[in-house]
């Protein structure tokens, strides 16, 4: 993985390399989402989008702490919240897309934010799906519970964002 050192799995551990990569990658993924949400206020987002952005911020920032804690307590490297700048996970925004989002205002921001965040969330779901398809992965209870939580909450937020987007159009 780009920017991340090789993984050593301690003897007797229930987790595998895919679990570590998932946690590391999801930190970068979440960190970019948090970065996106913090653009909303300055961009003059509508109250609804602002509220959603705040919720995503609070939710994912909490999960970042959780994932960092898991990695550290299992002797693994824990990326920080700037890691999204060097790691590219599924659904993440390119620099050009980020600039486009940063340059948009009001209703345009709302629309673009929702479109990009839906794709961003879809990427997280793909990461969960890939993890669960990996043999021997997600058997560690903390990884399993976190992966489920990411899937459940982001799937519901996608439903919500699709509706919000439709109402904008």
């Amino acid at each position: 993985m780009e920017g991340m050192p090789a993984v050593t799995i301690p003897a007797g551990a229930l987790f595998v390399e895919a679990d570590v990569r998932f946690m590391q990658g999801m930190i970068a993924h979440h960190a970019q989402a948090v970065y996106m949400t913090r653009m909303a206020e300055g961009a003059g987002a509508s109250p609804r989008v602002l509220r959603l952005a705040n919720k995503i911020d609070l939710s994912q920032a909490g999960e970042i702490s959780l994932m960092q804690g898991w990695l550290r307590s299992n002797g693994q490297v824990a990326p920080d919240t700037s890691s999204w700048r060097s790691m590219r996970m599924a659904g993440m925004l390119t620099d050009a897309e980020l600039q486009q989002l940063a340059a948009s205002r009001g209703r345009d921001f709302d629309r673009l934010f929702l479109q990009l965040m839906i794709r961003h969330h879809e990427g997280a779901l793909s990461m969960v799906s890939d993890l669960l398809k990996t043999p021997r992965a997600a058997q560690d209870v903390d990884v399993n519970v976190l992966a489920n939580e990411v899937e459940t909450s982001q799937m519901a937020e996608i439903e919500l964002m699709l509706q919000m987007l439709e109402e904008l159009n």
Binding site: K55, L58, S59, G62, L66, G69, V145, L160
Partner: protein, 600 residues
């Protein structure tokens, strides 16, 4: 056609709340729950309206704090025994003496998350994790034939030596399960299984299939697996059908929006899964049955769903509501009259510290919904514990049950490290707290933590807090089993507590709610009287006189008591006309008459 589709969708959308919310706020700096000292076994305690009787530490085999691997989960009750689930097995406690609970047995068997139910001599345990094995061995699953995801059935006729009878495998595993009795055959129960994962591959469990279309009965995704258990032959327990309560729902509507049918998305890993994701919810986190009312409340990801379970093998969805403030509809508790249901929102999944001062009160709390005559849901107020917890305490609303106080809707509820809370939701628009039990965090705050720091500590706190036969039992994830009792305060009288203690069950599975029936007794009558005094529901001169007449009647016996009570009932019935709370006065009249009729 549009009409037809809309009725098929049967999703009511929460618009503006029925009435304005009470301006619930976090407390000021003087809240006794602020600044409690930290520690696993010696944290500071703030308590109101309750008394802690004992804390029994975890059984030795589960006595480890390592993420979620050894945390305690939910509770079930039978006789003097409490069955406590753990992500690595379960424990059985003899609580005959509340001050000194005795560990009867502890089973070492990785079974995340270990949600338990007890029926007679059979203990059912939910298994979901990818590392659970059929043979309970450690080390995870290397061969998929060893994987256990579903419901384990134990024979606990000798609680000292539980015996695994069967592993019932289900396609999506079992995050939780709920007992639904057979309508007529007492020898059969159903388990409604909520699984939060995708269907396992067909190669691992034959017949399992992920699919994108909820209406396609061959897919295993959009259903709750229903296990039929013949109680005399638990080895014959098997999945008999799938409760397809999601069909036609579609993605959750935004507040004020309208439910829409499914629609494919792009940019995901497979077309089928894309369709599935656009089809709305496919899992419930938990479902709460109220068999006496033939109702079931499904807390299902982005929806709260009301279901008719008159025929447990053919449940029918009555209504579904969505609320954009809710992240994860998690669990539900009905009022005893079946006219209200409290749903909880497990925002952050229970591991995040979501009760900090920066967190909105309408996220990660409860909401009360009224069930109309038409069996449709209307959302009313939110409730969140009125205390700001630290960044070190995982906190969000979680599991609870009713406290059987006559004339009021009161529940006790676990909020993880937010503690145990007692909430009155009699008025759906004005739920309020009447008691709490809160410990400081397990982990000490460190330098750099601030009020809105999002660092998180050890996962702990009350998974679920339940009233059972006079006591409150709280399953502490890291600290063991807490037993508490109610203590009277301004919002709950000694008579109300005494009346609650009159309600006794042989067996109690909190998510399969029994109907509360109070015996004819003086504390029941006096509960209504205390409530009328507290809320000025009847003139003070009258409540005083009624209290004196009740005292007189209680000193009498036989025919004399019966005559006094009947005379009193007639007099109180006349009071109803001029009373501010005539309905409550009438409830008291009925309780006095019941008492007269029961007097021999």
């Amino acid at each position: 056609m549009e009409m037809l589709r809309r009725s098929l969708l049967a999703a009511s959308v929460v618009g503006a709340l029925a009435t304005p919310l009470v301006a619930q706020t976090y407390p000021n700096a003087n809240d006794p729950r602020n600044n409690l000292s930290s520690g696993l076994s010696n944290a500071g305690i703030a308590i109101e309206g309750m008394r802690l009787l004992s804390t029994a530490p975890k059984a030795a085999v589960h006595d480890s704090v390592r993420g979620l691997t050894f945390v305690n989960s939910d509770l079930a009750f039978r006789g003097n025994l409490v069955y406590q689930g753990n992500f690595a097995g379960f424990a059985i406690w003899d609580v005959s003496n509340s001050a000194t609970p005795r560990l009867v047995s502890a089973v070492d068997c990785i079974t995340a998350q270990g949600d338990p139910s007890i029926i007679g001599n059979l203990l059912f345990i939910s298994a979901e994790g990818a590392g659970n094995r059929n043979d309970c061995a450690k080390g995870g699953v290397t061969n998929e034939a060893d994987h256990m995801a579903g419901v384990r059935i134990y024979d606990v006729s000798n609680p000292a030596t539980p015996r695994l009878v069967k592993n019932v495998q289900t396609c999506k595993g079992s995050h939780t399960h709920t007992v639904v009795p057979h309508p007529t055959d007492r020898g059969v129960v159903y388990l409604y299984v909520s699984g939060s994962q995708n269907a396992r591959p067909d190669t691992e469990l034959a017949g399992c299939r992920n699919g994108g279309n909820p209406a396609d009965e061959s897919n295993s995704l959009f259903r709750l697996d229903v296990i039929r258990v013949p109680l005399a032959r638990p080895e014959d327990a098997a999945v008999v059908t799938g409760a397809r309560i999601f069909t036609g729902l579609g993605p959750a509507p935004a507040r004020g929006g309208r439910a829409r049918a499914q629609r494919p998305m792009t940019g995901v890993d497979s077309a089928e899964m894309a369709m599935a994701r656009a089809a709305g919810p496919r899992n419930c986190h938990d479902v709460s049955a109220y068999p006496a009312m033939n109702l079931l409340a499904g807390a299902c990801a982005s929806y709260g769903i009301l279901v008719d379970i008159s025929n447990p093998e053919k449940p029918v969805r009555l209504d579904a509501v969505a609320d954009t403030n809710f992240s994860l509809w998690h669990t539900a508790v009905f009022s005893n009259d079946g006219k209200k249901v409290v749903f909880t929102d497990e925002w952050g999944g229970g591991t995040s510290p979501n009760c900090q001062i920066t967190h909105p009160l309408e996220m990660g709390g409860n909401t009360t919904l009224v069930i109309g005559e038409d069996r449709k849901l209307t959302q009313h107020a939110y409730f969140k514990i009125p205390t700001a917890q630290t960044a070190r305490e995982n906190c969000v609303s979680h599991n609870g049950s009713l406290i059987p106080v006559p004339g009021r809707d009161i529940m006790v509820q676990g909020w993880y490290q937010g503690g145990v809370d007692i909430i009155d939701f009699t008025d759906a628009d004005r739920p309020f707290e009447i008691g709490y039990f809160d410990r400081g965090p397990v982990d000490a705050p460190t330098v750099g933590d601030s009020a809105n720091s999002r660092a998180r500590g050890t996962i702990a706190g009350s998974w679920g807090a339940y009233w059972y036969n006079g006591k409150i039992y709280s399953s502490e994830m890291a600290r063991g089993l807490d037993i508490l009792e109610l203590v009277p305060n301004a919002q709950l009288s000694a008579n109300e507590i005494e009346a609650a203690k009159l309600v006794m069950w042989e067996e109690f599975n909190p998510q399969s709610q029994p109907k509360i029936v109070w015996p004819a007794a003086f504390p029941v009558v006096r509960s209504y009287l205390d409530q009328l005094v507290r809320t000025n529901g009847l003139a003070a001169a009258r409540t005083t006189a009624i209290g004196q007449m009740l005292n007189t009647a209680e000193r009498q016996s036989g025919a004399a008591r019966r005559t006094s009570l009947n005379t009193l009932a007639t007099a109180v019935e006349r009071d109803a006309a001029g009373a501010r709370d005539a309905a409550r006065v009438q409830m008291m009249v009925a309780a006095i008459r019941d008492l007269a009729n029961a007097t021999r």
